[in-house]
């Protein structure tokens, strides 16, 4: 059994890592990472715009965004992927690669989810921050740009990382529209071997596990760090933590 795993990894590690890259499209783990990194990079600004639209005083911005957020929360990602797979080539009239379709889907989906996080972050700051910024002469956009968003987004960093983890997990759904990612590479390996599906899919699960576990670990340590930094020196209880805290607070 162990021998099977080693043989599969020895024979197919390149396919799992980069797909058929020099001779074909980039795939495998590299593509999974690129797809999720791009998705989160685009989803981040989109989510801020969506959150601002949901908090806007104009109904023609607020209502469609609220509807979009509810639809994305209530409809399976799979259905959204099928929609984009059907609609995007229809609108653009071009043969859009499935990678791009998956990217657009993920930006919409994660953008909607992140926008809830951004919105909660802005709302939890309280009205006082906005009032104070306005009293100091900032306009609405200026107050958002210089006072509200920096605070709200700083608190958001851990949930950004955990969104990155769930984006990595969501890229697996690209399998249904044949995005050449890690899952696709694994099923290619499985189709070539035919006799060892358990070994192949266990390797796949382990790779995803290592990837997501390490990112979750980073998210948790960043979260603790931010919580400590925000708590300030007043809440220090453990003397062991007091020394580094001081230097951290001095940096602030």
């Amino acid at each position: 059994m162990i021998h099977d795993f080693i043989t599969i990894i020895q024979d197919y590690w390149l396919l799992l890592l980069i797909g058929q890259y020099p001779n074909g499209p980039l795939g495998g783990l590299a593509n999974t990472l690129i797809l999720s990194a791009l998705a989160i990079a685009f989803a981040f600004p989109v989510s801020i715009l969506m959150a601002l639209a949901r908090l806007s005083k104009w109904w023609f911005l607020r209502w469609p965004m609220t509807a979009l957020v509810y639809v994305t929360r209530g409809v399976p990602l799979l259905m959204l992927i099928l929609w984009c797979y059907f609609v995007i080539p229809l609108w653009t009239g071009a043969d859009v690669p499935s990678f791009l379709i998956m990217l657009v889907t993920l930006v919409i989906y994660q953008g909607a989810f992140l926008s809830e996080v951004v919105r909660a972050g802005i709302v939890s700051l309280g009205q006082g921050q906005m009032d104070a910024a306005r009293a100091l002469g900032h306009g609405y956009m200026g107050a958002m740009r210089f006072v509200i968003l920096p605070q709200a987004l700083y608190n958001m960093i851990p949930s950004m990382i955990s969104t990155f983890v769930s984006t990595i997990k969501d890229t697996t759904l690209g399998y249904v529209i044949n995005v050449p990612d890690l899952t696709f590479a694994a099923s290619q390996v499985n189709n070539q071997l035919l006799t060892q599906p358990f070994q192949v899919f266990l390797i796949l699960a382990v790779v995803y596990y290592i990837l997501c576990w390490s990112l979750t670990f980073v998210a948790n340590s960043v979260e603790r760090r931010i919580a400590r930094r925000r708590a300030g020196p007043r809440n220090v209880r453990l003397p062991a933590e007091a020394a580094p805290l001081k230097t951290i607070t001095e940096q602030l």
Partner: protein
């Protein structure tokens, strides 16, 4: 083929019956995996708070695996992998009894149990330890303090994430299409292949999912308000 025509889907009895079968299978998978997940979650939680020292790392490993591996990969591992390793008799029996749906229930249920047990645990942790001491000072034993004092508060605290995860379990039931379970998304794809009315049937499928998701959210919100003591005292 030309133009938008919803009635081409909705007035065709074949399509309607395919859709209804899809919805039925989606709900079988959803309810089956929800019950499995909740039962397992309670067991996992009991193992975690039990004095057995081996319980904690086992549950932590279980939760970590199921939260860090994509649900789709878990389903594939069950259906393509573990299914083939099963003894002949069992796999024959499964193959004759809708193995796709059974593995969808097992895969989704085991995965969701990790989320549910974490929700319950964080709900219980948010009950202050003073509550347990107070209950025991009033003459409750451990079990009865749990039953009458800690659990009601803990479960109430855990309700919002439990509701969210119940909705996402409903949405995740669509993943069963990858292993070939004939649920709603499967029915939608099939009708699309027969009728070529992609836009109409996707719309029907989306609205159906949205409708049931909103109903689940609504039921959750109702239970949450019913469980809120402040609300109940006023009523």
């Amino acid at each position: 083929m030309n133009g938008f025509d919803l009635s081409a889907i909705l007035s065709n009895p074949d399509y309607i019956s395919m859709l209804l079968h899809g919805i039925e299978m989606t709900f079988i998978i959803y309810i089956g995996s929800w019950v499995l997940a909740m039962t397992l979650a309670i067991l996992l939680l009991a193992l975690r708070v039990s004095p057995l020292r081996i319980g904690e790392p086992i549950v932590a490993a279980y939760v970590s695996y199921h939260r860090n591996v994509p649900t789709l990969v878990q389903l594939m591992l069950w259906y393509f992998g573990i299914f083939t390793l099963m003894p002949q008799g069992l796999s024959d029996w499964l193959a004759n009894n809708n193995a796709e749906a059974i593995f969808a229930v097992i895969g989704l249920g085991l995965c969701q149990a990790a989320y549910f047990s974490e929700d319950l645990r964080s709900g219980l942790r948010s009950v202050s330890p003073g509550q347990m001491e107070a209950a025991q000072a009033l003459g409750h034993g451990y079990a009865s303090a749990m039953r009458f004092v800690i659990m009601p508060q803990g479960v109430r605290n855990a309700l919002p994430p439990l509701i969210n995860h119940s909705v996402s379990l409903f949405k995740n039931s669509s993943l069963a299409i990858v292993i070939g379970a004939p649920e709603l998304t499967h029915a939608v794809k099939e009708i699309e292949n027969i009728s070529f009315r992609t836009f109409e049937i996707y719309l029907v499928g989306t609205v159906t999912y949205l409708f049931f998701s909103l109903i689940i959210m609504g039921i959750g919100a109702y239970i949450a308000t019913r469980a809120d003591p402040a609300r109940r005292a006023r009523a």
